[in-house]
């Protein structure tokens, strides 16, 4: 399906975009199949409503199709697509008065080695997933982009239009909050 010259995931996506710019719908299908799940997951980490996310996903890919001829390659394709998705989310939240600044979360102490031991013992992945759900959207988004999409803090900063330091701080706090949540759940389990 892809040319041998495409050696990285970004190369593959760039080739597909290039074909999409020529109105090649087969390329669009392949592009969608590569990016649909990560983008949907990205949307879902900001908005928990799957129907709204499906609508926004639809809009994102329509925009990608229309904007393909103008893609200039200054950022990676993934960063470009997520930037479009992020703008859709922000627009939706603003229209629905759900836009909040979530960076005003107070500084918290790191949990230290005891918490690390705790998570070592947390064999049930379900517990970790449940704790991920408790994170605020911006924290969950940062964690998802870091660990699901393996994006750099620079890429995340570009997508979410915040300083690089903010991204690092969000992931740092999210990690602390996850540990706290896990500790609470482990204690509750012991008491049962």
């Amino acid at each position: 399906m892809f040319s041998d010259r495409a050696t990285t995931p970004n190369d593959l996506l760039r080739q597909l975009l290039s074909r999409m710019a020529q109105a090649d719908r087969t390329a669009f299908d392949s592009f969608y199949r590569e990016m649909e799940k990560p983008v949907f997951r990205f949307l879902k980490s900001k908005l928990n409503d799957p129907f709204t996310c499906a609508d926004l996903l639809h809009d994102v890919f329509l925009d990608v199709w229309r904007a393909a001829p103008g893609f200039d390659g200054r950022s990676s394709v993934k960063t470009w697509v997520f930037s479009i998705a992020y703008r859709k989310v922000v627009d939706f939240m603003r229209k629905n008065s759900r836009f909040t600044d979530e960076d005003s979360i107070p500084e918290q102490e790191d949990e230290g080695p005891a918490a690390v031991e705790c998570i070592w013992k947390a064999e049930e992945a379900d517990m970790l997933r449940a704790c991920l759900e408790t994170l605020k959207p911006d924290h969950r988004l940062a964690v998802e982009m870091t660990f699901y999409n393996d994006m750099s803090y620079k890429e995340i900063a570009e997508v979410t239009n915040v300083p690089e330091g903010t991204v690092k701080t969000r992931v740092f706090h999210a990690k602390s909050l996850l540990l706290r949540c896990l500790q609470q759940r482990m204690r509750a389990k012991v008491r049962e």
Binding site: F28, F61, V116, L132, T146, F147
Partner: protein, 192 residues
């Protein structure tokens, strides 16, 4: 290492764990890891979080159904270039709901599926299938990709979908193969 340096290193750990740091930062973190056992424990914890997130790939995204919806929207947009995206999407949805719009895909000159109104004559055979209620989106997507199929319409009131397939396909064999996929397909028949 000062407290400030320690914190800066901790903030880089998630990005070291996902392999996205540049060389300078990566070396800086690796030096710190050798010197501080607590940081190594944090890395283990971060890897656990990353593993859990990567494994939790169970989000139900629109998948192939979302792609079919996009094709319908693109086709309508092509037919009515002055219509806004939102209007086009709403119109497409409304039309589909009342059954006024049925689209079928036709392979054309290697440029992928092109759609047209169902009121026109169907000049290519299709397959009509019913998916198993327990079939996951991922399994449906995999099946469609394996056989180079595209959903071009559906679901009908009875839950049937119309699939297009590449020119020259042996439809009897394809039907048999699909019917053998008993965990995904309930029924598969030629139509058109």
């Amino acid at each position: 290492m000062t407290a400030q340096q320690h914190r800066a290193t901790e903030e880089l750990l998630p990005f070291w764990a996902n392999g996205s740091l540049d060389d300078d930062e990566r070396l800086e973190v690796e030096r710190a890891l050798k010197a501080d056992e607590n940081l190594s424990e944090q890395v283990a914890m971060l890897r656990l979080i990353r593993g859990a997130i990567q494994d939790s790939d169970d989000i139900q995204s629109p998948g192939e159904f979302g792609l079919a919806r996009l094709h319908r929207a693109l086709d309508r947009e092509t037919a009515q270039p002055s219509v806004t995206r939102r209007t086009a999407a709403i119109s497409a949805l409304a039309a589909a709901v009342v059954g006024g719009l049925v689209v079928f895909g036709l392979e054309q000159g290697g440029q992928g599926n092109v759609y047209r109104q169902a009121s026109t004559v169907i000049d290519q055979p299709m397959l009509t299938v019913a998916f198993s209620p327990d079939a996951s989106e991922a399994s449906i997507r995999d099946l469609l990709q394996r056989y180079s199929l595209s959903i071009v319409n559906g679901p009908s009131a009875l839950g049937l979908y119309f699939l297009s397939f590449p020119e020259g396909t042996d439809t009897d064999e394809l039907s048999r193969n699909l019917r053998a996929e008993t965990t995904i397909i309930q029924s598969a028949d030629k139509s058109g």
